[in-house]
């Protein structure tokens, strides 16, 4: 995956004070708290938008336990946080996953993303929530043998599908968009969905139905019950529909069943883990590695509650310790945003 994602291996190198992994509400607020103590941060997120679970899982759902906001949706909360952290100009790197994290001989850290970007930073703040969002893998026996060769969760090059018998599974925008995009190049496109009702944009559904009408796309209503192939090459899929089973020839299958959260590469960074969570102390929210902090849903400590408000508290304390590493020569004076002209200047309000 990482090699495909870095076609030119652009090898961008970014030096900074802090790198925040995860642009959920807690990661975003970390920019604020770090900013107040003069720490410049970059944020990296695997999703194509900031907000983490708030934006991906429940953008429209009201949240009722954010202090002073009796009700706010996941998207509103994200938008407000983005506005709040604007003065600090943190750069957001979306669609990127941090694959490697290691300490350099000078004590700083190197992080490398799947897009080939390298960050050199003094502190790392892991705010990765439930882990990386990754495509859901249908629990079909043997599917892992075909992944990357004839089963794909995303398409990087349309040409790779030329003259193939493609089976696309799902009923949302991804499934419909790829049906329309691959139909002209593929030998055949079969769209399979469990019901004759699609969540995708109406105009793409309409276009798909036209292609079905003209016989250019085959629409099947049902679910994949098994797949078969040789080595890493898929050859056929059995589809279970209302009227029984049908076996169809398939060269490539694209399942689109949404995203799920997996801890992902965080597990390989040599940090102590407890049941896929990162234990931290409750004074600094620091991990087993000095200079690497973990905040929000991904950390654990006695009494931990996975609440957004807990994460907000955690980043405030984390920033105090981060300051010691980033600006060891400076003494940190505790100040309030209501009265400190110094803080107000940073916020651009004085």
């Amino acid at each position: 995956m990482s090699s495909e994602a870095s076609p030119a291996a652009a090898a961008a190198l970014i030096e900074t004070d802090a790198v925040i992994i995860g642009a959920g509400p807690v990661g975003l607020f970390a920019v604020f708290e770090l900013g107040l103590v003069d720490i410049k941060a970059h944020i990296i997120d695997i999703l194509d938008k900031p907000g983490g679970q708030c934006a991906e899982l429940y953008p429209e759902k009201p949240i009722y336990d954010i202090p002073a906001l009796p009700t706010v949706t996941g998207q509103e909360l994200t938008d407000r946080l983005l506005e709040q952290i604007k003065p600090f100009g943190a750069e957001l790197h979306l669609n990127e996953r941090v694959d490697a994290l290691k300490r350099l001989p000078d004590g700083r850290f190197s992080l490398i993303t799947d897009a080939g970007t390298e960050f050199i930073t003094k502190v790392v703040v892991i705010a990765a929530g439930g882990g990386s969002f990754t495509p859901k893998r249908p629990p079909l026996p043997g599917i892992e043998n075909f992944e990357g060769h004839s089963v794909f969760y995303s398409v990087r090059r349309i040409e790779a599908m030329r003259d193939k018998k493609v089976l696309i599974v799902g009923g949302g925008d991804s499934a419909l968009d790829w049906t329309l995009a691959l139909q002209p190049v593929a030998k055949s496109v079969t769209l399979l969905h469990r019901r004759d009702d699609f969540r995708a944009a109406p105009h793409s559904v309409e276009k798909m139905r036209q292609l079905v009408e003209t016989g250019d796309v085959r629409l099947m209503i049902g679910q994949v019950s098994s797949i078969e192939g040789e080595g890493n090459q898929l050859t056929a899929a059995t589809i279970k529909g209302k009227d029984g089973e049908e076996r169809i020839d398939v060269d490539a299958m694209l399942p689109f069943f949404g995203l799920t959260m997996k801890l992902g590469p965080v597990a390989d960074w040599g940090l102590h883990l407890t049941e896929n969570l990162i234990p931290v102390d409750t004074e600094k929210f620091e991990t087993s590695e000095q200079g690497i902090f973990a905040v929000g849903d991904i950390n654990t400590y006695p009494g931990k509650l996975k609440l957004i408000l807990s994460g907000f508290h955690e980043v405030a304390l984390m920033a105090q310790q981060a300051h010691k590493y980033v600006h060891p020569e400076k003494k940190l004076l505790f100040q309030y945003t209501t009265s400190s002209s110094n803080l107000q200047k940073k916020l651009g309000v004085s």
């Binding site: 899982l57 859901k136 249908p138 679910q223 069943f257």
Partner: protein, 119 residues
């Protein structure tokens, strides 16, 4: 009038729910009224109900199959739940997301099947 008979006919205030695992093993739990079937499963550590999103009808990892005789009482999924079921595996006519079934005294005795896999 013999009071015990009337008392027996009334639904229990603590509905009993039976979860049947794919291997046939059963777990019967006494649940509170007003919480969801997913919450009842989590409180009693029923295996196979992941509920990744915590009950926001946003992930389809609390998928269950409602036992046939109970399907009228649990009702049918609303459009949002129906959309979310697209993200579940091996969806059947009896499929529901357990976070969308609120427990009432009328559901005393409810039987649901846990799928082989949430994904």
């Amino acid at each position: 009038m013999p009071a015990p008979l009337i008392w027996k006919a009334l639904p229990r205030a603590m509905p009993k729910i039976t979860f049947i695992q794919p291997d046939g093993s059963q777990q019967a739990v006494d649940s509170d009224v007003g919480i969801t079937l997913m919450e009842a499963a989590k409180i009693h550590d029923v295996p196979g109900i992941d509920a990744e999103c915590g009950g926001a009808c946003a992930c389809a990892t609390c998928h269950v199959y409602v036992d046939e005789p109970w399907q009228d009482k649990t009702g049918t999924p609303n459009p949002m739940e129906e959309d979310m079921l697209d993200f579940a595996f091996d969806v059947r006519d009896s499929s529901r997301l357990s976070c969308q079934i609120k427990l009432t005294p009328e559901l005393d005795g409810l039987v649901v099947h846990v799928p082989a896999k949430q994904f």
